[in-house]
């Protein structure tokens, strides 16, 4: 049991170290040496030497580590291969355990997939005032829409030119003005303000409140 824990511990440490691929081959060798300890003493030396010879032939730093992990995981099976057939009940119990672990892993994997796909519920944004008609399709309040030049509003030529003179180029700039701001523009009357209000309302927008 101590040996088993030792192997598991080494595996965990090794996996963490995979981040540092320079250390990976060193960990791989440690792992192989430690895995061989569960083999009968008479065979240990041969298998360590064999596995290390293979390790040198494995290309890639992290792949070496992966190789060592696989060898270590199969080391108990290698030991059984050396010791011959095990009693029937041992074989049955072992297979049962392997089956249980396999099923548990599959369930865990499935569950994690389901959890990841589940949409995250965001809290409602409090205090956001929706302007415009709620029955209209989603208002074009955000993002690129605000950079749209006021030409797109299809205003009367006089209204349009007055706004330009007042320094209003984009829809974004328009919605930052209040009615009073607009009336300060020369030749801009309440008639024009009403027109602008109407056009903005069609887009679900409005002038700034005074």
């Amino acid at each position: 049991m101590k040996l088993f824990l030792g192997i598991v511990g080494t595996i965990v440490v090794s996996v963490v170290a995979a981040e540092f691929s320079v250390l990976a081959p060193w960990f791989a060798e440690r792992l192989l040496r430690s895995a061989a300890r569960i083999l009968p003493p008479a065979q240990r030396g041969r298998y360590v030497a064999e596995w290390l010879g293979e390790l040198d032939a494995v290309p890639g730093q992290v792949i070496k580590l992966l190789f060592a992990v696989r060898v270590a995981l199969r080391a108990p099976a290698t030991r059984r291969g050396l010791q011959g057939l095990e009693p029937l009940w041992v074989a049955l119990v072992r297979r049962l355990l392997v089956a249980l672990v396999t099923v548990a892993l599959a369930v865990a994997r499935f569950a994690s997939r389901v959890l990841v796909r589940m949409p995250i519920k965001r809290p409602a944004l409090d205090g956001v005032v929706v302007v415009g008609d709620p029955d209209q399709p989603a208002p074009s309040i955000l993002g690129a829409e605000l950079d749209t030049p006021i030409e797109e509003l299809d205003l009367a030529p006089k209204t349009h030119s007055s706004l330009k003179r007042g320094g209003v180029i984009t829809i974004g700039e328009l919605v930052t003005r209040s009615e009073g701001d607009l009336l300060n523009i020369r030749n801009f009357g309440s008639r024009h303000v009403d027109e602008v209000r109407e056009k903005l309302h069609e887009l679900g927008l409005s002038l700034r409140e005074e």
Binding site: L55, A57, R70, V71, A75, T78, L82
Partner: protein, 112 residues
């Protein structure tokens, strides 16, 4: 279960099939796992069982480790017994299960 013959699992069958392609050529573990299509590192229990059953011979590579810059490899080769019994086991399994390890024997046992 027949005397000391190893169990023929899918993986064991794949290893035997790979070794039987060129029975007299010695190979080391990585080569065998690649040819058998098994993940590297998983075949040592199989090689061990086959060797214990006397189906495989193994020996050390004869190199100067310092000059080569790597450690020597353990090479495996089918024994005479292994070549015969392995072939028989594969054929029996292929007839029983038709798992496709071997091409189905042609009419009149055309397979060499």
């Amino acid at each position: 279960m027949g005397d000391d013959d190893p169990r023929l699992t899918m993986q064991t069958g794949a290893v035997l099939k790979a070794l039987l392609v060129k029975p007299s050529t010695p190979r080391y573990g990585l080569e065998i796992s690649k040819e058998a299509g098994l993940p590297s590192g998983t075949i040592y229990p199989i090689l061990t069982r086959l060797e214990q059953a006397g189906w495989l011979d193994s020996f050390w590579e004869d190199i100067d480790e310092a000059a080569e810059g790597r450690r020597r490899r353990r090479y495996y080769r089918l024994s005479e017994k292994g070549a015969v019994k392995g072939q028989q086991a594969l054929e029996a399994a292929s007839q029983r299960l038709s798992l496709g390890w071997l091409p189905a024997p042609g009419p009149g046992g055309a397979r060499a």
